[in-house]
């Protein structure tokens, strides 16, 4: 187990290192930069040189990268060009709670609703209820979250006036409901389909027939035999959804004006704010990599066969 864990960790570290190199070099080699932004205000070559010197952009590329990497290892991603009063790390941790709140709630809602629908569909296999849920699952996952947001805002904010239509006035029930629902609904389709597939597969096992044969009721078979086995592929699939959604949706945050990480990523992208973009990208990559790492480890604990296969290859 220890060597399995270490090997996984080493692999993830390599990937993150390569990714940082790729994004860093790409951002520095492409012509143009933050000093090209103010087109209305012409800048002299001396001013541009001074700007470059201030942020160390005049040094050779490999030196810039090594300096950046050394700082990044201690989670220091520098100071954003556009908002120099905070460091990138401070900014990330200042905006992250908004994204985490909306995303966490949305992921929870999506997983709960999706699992419930998937289990109903699996229990009522090949009936009209199953068909209806499948149609819902296929249909809902084709709707982009920003379209869902528009539809919800139009009906529940503009027409019915139950919720504020736009603008962010702190996190409360009224401002959170629509973004969370709009973010969660499109994801319920995938969750429901996967749940149904896992449960149906577990239900077709021989021991389930045996359980029925020895006289257990359906509820007992479902909870004791089917769900336990269906849970393994479900956990590994749904767990990564949480950090994935908690890092913020650029579309939802843009539509509802939530001051989260996604919003900042788009803003810093358009401003070509290298430190901020690199910082947010790497921060996201680290979070996602860690989730996959944890899922792998969890999978190795739940299902010992995974470790054995690893050893054999």
């Amino acid at each position: 187990m220890i060597s399995y864990t270490l090997r996984r960790f080493g692999g993830i570290f390599m990937v993150l290192l390569l990714l940082s190199m790729f994004t860093f070099i790409l951002s520095r080699t492409v012509p143009g930069g933050p000093w090209m932004q103010g087109v209305e205000i012409p800048q002299s070559p001396e001013q541009i040189e001074a700007f470059k010197a201030k942020y160390g952009l005049d040094k050779p590329l490999w030196q810039q990268y090594l300096v950046w990497l050394r700082n990044a290892l201690t989670l220091d991603f520098g100071i954003p060009f556009t908002a120099p009063e905070l460091t990138v790390t401070q900014l990330i941790f200042k905006q992250l709670p908004y994204s985490a709140l909306v995303g966490g709630l949305a992921a929870t809602l999506a997983v709960l609703l999706g699992i419930a629908l998937g289990m109903i569909a699996a229990a009522k296999q090949n009936t009209w209820i199953d068909n209806l849920i499948t149609i819902y699952a296929v249909g809902i996952s084709t709707i982009p979250s920003f379209v869902m947001a528009f539809v919800l805002v139009y009906f529940f904010a503009a027409k019915l006036r139950w919720f504020p239509a736009g603008g962010w006035s702190g996190a409360n029930l009224k401002t959170l409901t629509l973004p969370v629902v709009a973010y969660a609904l499109p994801s319920t389709g995938g969750v429901a389909r996967w749940t149904r597939q896992c449960v149906v597969e577990a239900m077709s096992a021989d021991y389930v027939r045996t359980a029925y044969a020895k006289g257990l009721r359906q509820a007992g078979v479902m909870s004791r035999h089917v769900l336990r086995n269906a849970l393994i592929p479900m956990i590994t699939n749904f767990l990564p959804m949480f950090p994935g959604m908690m890092t913020g949706s650029i579309f939802i945050e843009r539509t509802f004006g939530i001051p989260g990480l996604g919003q900042y990523f788009v803003m810093s992208s358009t401003n070509r704010d290298y430190p901020l973009v690199l910082g947010i990208t790497m921060f996201w990559a680290i979070l996602i990599a860690l989730t996959y790492f944890l899922t792998d480890i969890l999978y190795g604990i739940i299902d010992p066969r995974v470790r054995l296969v690893e050893k054999a290859s």
């Binding site: 982009p144 503009a158 996201w284």
Partner: protein, 298 residues
């Protein structure tokens, strides 16, 4: 004597139960799937609309008419007008072009890169395989939209750069798929036999490996398009995709911004087109998978 009477019956039998071939059977199964047929019909329809857009659109997509801004659907403007008085129907029609371009070109480029790399990786093994596998890991480490958004930002927003950026992630699926298949086929006895006969490696690959991968790749091609359509709509929505005045469904939604709340016609039609296109390509892909009966978990 008896053998001569039996012979015609034997000769005639195969003609009656002749095996129709893999693709004919696949088409028969495909036709039975209603969602897949809807997908096929819609995709053909949207291809038609995109190709003949100049003849179908009642107005030029960038014709500004400030006196008729933000009007609801009427006989002159079947889908109404936007904030600049441009005809929404014409813009919806023209916007099918970037959607199809992004959807199809990124997947085609993905195949052209992914298939050769996958074959090399799976067949050669060793250091090449290690390198290509790390490359796949690298680009799968981030969600695709982050990578694409980052690349589009670095390369400046435009349709070409959007396609370029999406290609960087679109080859991963087909590469992984072909690599796995080549890997398993390589060890088969008939490959060894063919090699013993002196058949060159490239012919082994084109005659034995690729035909097996064909249905899988076809599925992968169709299944990748919805993601690309999502990406085009989403990035254009954020103003990082198709450049104005060129219309795109996502960009129309983004531009509508302040106005759509009391003018539902500005978001209904582009939203509907995005959703229907994604559904159509998704249905097409699912239908293909079922019809060709391929195991997707390779």
């Amino acid at each position: 004597m008896t053998s001569t009477t039996v012979a015609p019956a034997v000769a005639g039998a195969p003609a009656e139960v002749r095996y129709a071939g893999f693709w004919v059977g696949a088409w028969r199964r495909f036709r039975r799937n209603r969602l897949a047929m809807f997908g096929l019909v819609f995709v053909v329809f949207i291809l038609f609309v995109a190709i003949f857009a100049p003849f179908l659109a009642p107005y030029p997509y960038d014709k500004i008419d400030p006196t008729h801004g933000l009007e609801g659907p009427s006989r002159e403007h079947l889908m109404g007008t936007d904030q600049l008085g441009r005809d929404v129907l014409s813009r919806v029609i023209y916007a099918s072009r970037p959607m199809l371009l992004v959807g199809i070109l990124t997947q085609l480029a993905g195949l052209l890169i992914g298939v050769p790399l996958g074959i090399i990786s799976g067949y050669a093994g060793g250091i090449l395989d290690w390198f290509i596998t790390r490359l796949i890991d690298l680009f799968s480490a981030l969600p695709w939209y982050l990578l694409v958004l980052y690349l589009v930002m670095v390369l400046k927003p435009s349709l070409q750069n959007l396609i370029l950026a999406m290609t960087i992630t679109s080859w991963l699926g087909s590469c992984r798929l072909v690599r796995g298949l080549t890997f398993s086929v390589r060890e088969q006895d008939y490959i060894e036999a063919a090699r013993a006969l002196g058949i060159p490696t490239w012919r082994l690959l084109t005659n034995h490996v690729l035909p097996q991968a064909a249905p899988l790749l076809l599925w992968g091609f169709a299944a990748g398009i919805p993601t690309a359509v999502f990406a085009e709509a989403g990035l254009s929505f954020l103003g990082m995709g198709v450049r104005p005045p060129q219309p795109s469904w996502g960009q129309m939604l983004g531009e509508a911004g302040m106005f759509w709340m009391y003018k539902p016609h500005m978001f209904i039609f582009p939203s509907l087109m995005i959703t229907l296109s994604v559904l159509a390509f998704q249905g097409l892909a699912d239908g293909l998978r079922e019809a060709t009966n391929v195991n997707v978990n390779v």
